[in-house]
Amino acid sequence: MSVGLRDGLKKRVERLRTLPSSPAVLQPLLELLRSPSEQIDLKKVVQLVSYDKSITAQCLRIANSSLYGRARPTESIQAAVLSLGIQRVEDILLTCCLQRFSSGAPGAGDSTVFWRHSLGCAAVCRELAERIQYTDPDRAYLAALLHDLGILVNSLAYPEEYALVLAKAAEMGVPLVEQEMHELGFTHSESGSILGAMWQLPQAVNEVIALHHDVSNAPEDNPLVALVHIGDMLCRLRGLGYGYEEWRGVDLGADPAWSDLARHCPQLCKMDLARFTMDLDAFVPRVQALVESVFSPNVKRQEAPISH
């Protein structure tokens, strides 16, 4: 990307900072995400979630969705934090904030496709991380949830141009990055990592945002890039992609990301990929239900008394 293009992009991303829809809890939440998980105060998380009534209601709906596999519905944030764990509640809160952040701007368009892919990829990456015994499945979830942050940035910063990019990629069935490069001269990896840097996201997560389509340049000590790359590919080929089919055959075992990840997680070589792929089909309806709970209007439920 040329210097001029990068400066222009940076300016547009900086303008996003002042979006009226940016929720007040986003900044303190991002700060919380940066601190080591063992130091996070349960009370602080509950306080953040409870700050905005409609966000509280939305968080509870997500916490009770089938993707989190809960047997009994949770009625308070306190109980959700206790049963799901602090990190998951942070992820849920972040999802709500980003949804708010993206929906207020003009030209945001239909972001349900974005959420299907992001939440789907997050769930699939956590599942993959668990199966191959990666040390921090929750971090894999967070990284995958944010890996395509740049798609949000692009549709907010370049609403008209980007709608065209999305439509053309869908029409031709080509990967989104290829179409972005062709039409804009930069990709969602670049714009996403500019916002990620502004938000001071954890470094490993920002590397995933910047390099998930360019795994060979990932730092050796960050297997998350390869993991999210593989989860992303699987989602796009198994009904949780960008809302259209990408017509190509992918040999994941021959992808450099596969050997990168296998170096860190030897269990990957023993994994039954065909069976894992079939298991992913069960994620599609659950992710769909979760997306509905992120987007369904929260009028009725919000008015119900919520105990903290």
Binding site: P175, W247, D251, L252, A257, D272
Partner: protein, 306 residues
Amino acid sequence: MPIEILKGPAVEASEKEDSRDPVYLKIRDLVYQSCGIYHSEEKLYLLISACKRCIAQSNGRASTGREYLALLTSPTRREVEMRELMNQITIGETCLFRSQAQLNALHNVILPELTAERSKIGLKKLRVWSAGCSTGEEPYTLAMFLLEEKEKLLRDWAFDIQATDLNDNSIETARAGVYGDYALRNTPEVFKRKYFLPAEGTRLQVRSEVKACITFTRLNLNDDSRLVFMKGMDLIFCCNVLIYFDLNSKRRVVQHFFSNLMPNGCFFLGQAESLFQVNDQFRLIHLPGTTVYRKSGPETAKARTP
């Protein structure tokens, strides 16, 4: 009160309940290990209802899932019982146009790649083998699909389809090519009009031009001496057949398929089957909504995916 109406949802509810029963998860894993057919979470109910039909037909040998699992693992009964369970699992599975995802993958990715590559070396013939073709639904689907492609991608190409099955009766039925509503339930109207003639009742008969694309032969996949002659294939289909083979025969047959394929040729299994621990020479290729196994050409470079 009509009992049937009450029965429907009640059975469904009980199967939903059963899908949390660890016994059925054990049966699922047992079926996967011994037959290579996998029931993921949302397909588990199919396995459970197949098990229940087997239990009902077991003459009291089993009345619960737990007892049935014992039967499936008993040294004296397991082979018979597993075969019967496989029959129940695949019952009603065959129809024309069974897997649209496979056909889409062929149309959008596999054929364009294969034809481009074969054209480079001046080859303009495609060889397809439907191994275990049963009563002909699969080879006829492929024949119609390829006839359509002849108007586009396969213009001035020749193709032939070898369709083989162990069972003489199945081969006879296949040759006749007459199908009822159930077998035709996925067949698009355009295809019905273009490639079929009316037969008795609502049944339809495949037109002779479609039949002419296919050679039906009886063949035992365990017969090594015959398998070595099925050379030079571009596409091999073997759906829900290997489930009846033990691991060693499965390995042997799949090895034959591998050597019978041309470089970059593709091997198709049923949607729920996998070659895990059966063969590691094939490359598992992911395509939208489906997977195939490819025999890599010598020149296949390391893939890079955007």
